[in-house]
Amino acid sequence: MWRRLINSRVRERLKRIELPFSRYDIDPYGISRDHLGLFYTFLDGFYRYYFRVRCYGIENVPLRGRAMVVGNHSGGLPVDGGMVLASLFFEPEVPRHAHGMVEYFAQNWPFVSQWFSRVGQLPGLPEHAIRLLEDDRVLMVFPEGVRGTGKLYKDRYKLARFGTGFMRIAMRTQTPIVPLAFIGGEEALPTVFHFRKLARAVGAPYWPVPPYGIPLPLPFQCSIHYGKPMQFEGDGNESDQVISSHVEQVRNRIALLIEEGRAHRKRLLPWLDGLREATGNGTREGS
């Protein structure tokens, strides 16, 4: 019954996706083909019509084999995660399904937990990351974690501290890192303050409150910019100092992609500048 809701574009892509589905259409990690179809149909609506995402540099993501896409976490809700998944599914020649590394708290919520596991969005554990990469899957990583999505609007596009775990795993599994910048999420859901009590009540790390009250993202145009893959040699057992300097390289590359992406958007959407002046934040933009 639900299967009929899957749109033809997704259906066509699902036929070509390279996942080891069993005769029950389940892969070894519990991904279900039907759930995947509904999931991408849902994301497709947002990707094409709501956020009207423009994707650049998708050729930097390998069509086969392991890869780690690493980006900035942008906006009060992780809409960037959904849009990055959609871009990897819809844009390349061969559709790729990426596994996100989800915060543990989401596993406690009914339905959310079930859906996440049926579409391969597993709890963010190093064991999962290593196993998936060794299985030649694509991993989607936001090394800022909740530090990134929990940013306030005044701190938009300023990269928070990066975790270093992803680098050790990439080196250990010899995985190329594809850096990406996600532009637009911060304007789509500008967080002006955090509702701490409510967050605690539902077991979430934060509860974003935008100027208009309800934490729903606005239909702001977004873009994704993939950069050239970066490969780091080693076995992942290097000292913290070595790892941190590698992480810093990735972070700088992402910062550069963000800068380019924002400059590009300025050319496309010059009226944004007017908006910025109106909110009194125009002068602080360049940082």
């Binding site: 389940i26 070894p28 009914p110 554990l125 064991e127």
Partner: protein, 303 residues
Amino acid sequence: MKVVITGISGELGRMVTHRLLANGHCVLGIDRRPWPDAPRGVKMVRTDIRKRPAEDVFRSQRPEACIHLATVTHVTTGPDERYRINLGGTKMVFAYCSRYEVKQVVFVSRHTVYGAAPDVPLYRTEDEPPLAGWTFPELTDLVAADMYAVSGIWRWPDTATAVLRIVYTLGPSQRGTLANYIRGPRVPTVLGFDPLFQFLHEQDAARAIAAALEARLRGVFNVAGPSPVPLSVLCRATGRKNIPIPEPFFTRVLGRFGFPRLPPGAVGHLKYPVVVDGSAFQQAAGYSHDFDESQTMESFVYT
């Protein structure tokens, strides 16, 4: 090889016996329960493993190997008796094995000892600590027995000890923890959760135990079967209907409306997956399963 099997009258014990006899081994059995139609040549001693006649089997027969299957679960047995049988019994069996120089012990444990929780990985390896004592209190006695058997690996270096953490078994015998849970036509599940379930055909489980014995394994091994499937698919493929029940009411409906009786600790195992990586065992014992997931589920179709 002369093999003594404790808990031989259980379904798994019987299947292991047939397999060992077919492979040319000599089988002795210890169980409190009778096995009236035991094959000829199987020497049965009806006694409790903690009692004197059980020790006498080891003393007089001098078996070379022991398969310890005499453990019980919350499905059949209360907590006090569970501790006495699972922990007390396992301690005695290991004592007999070291005292009478048994060369190989296979302890059959369960993959559920790893425990289910929101933040545990899929495909857990043998390095992972068993958490079930925390997540599922009714399994604590089995976790303790498992850990005791694991300690036997270094405690008695002259005896090769293999601890097999086997996934749920399904099959025509309709026995076992999973079979007990999904026995009826309607299976209660927790609304909004649909964990992966990992199971093995009971004949494959028996074959794995025999393989561990014949390969003279030493160490802890997960025994997994075909790819895991979500609980909802398991229900559908076995001709049952899953009835999602909101968690606050879940424990209240258990044991009523034809639903199975489950301890409160089981709820976690119906929300989160316990999935293990069985590759180490496959490699060490040269074992692979014969029945895939659909054949296994078809063997347990509701009629």
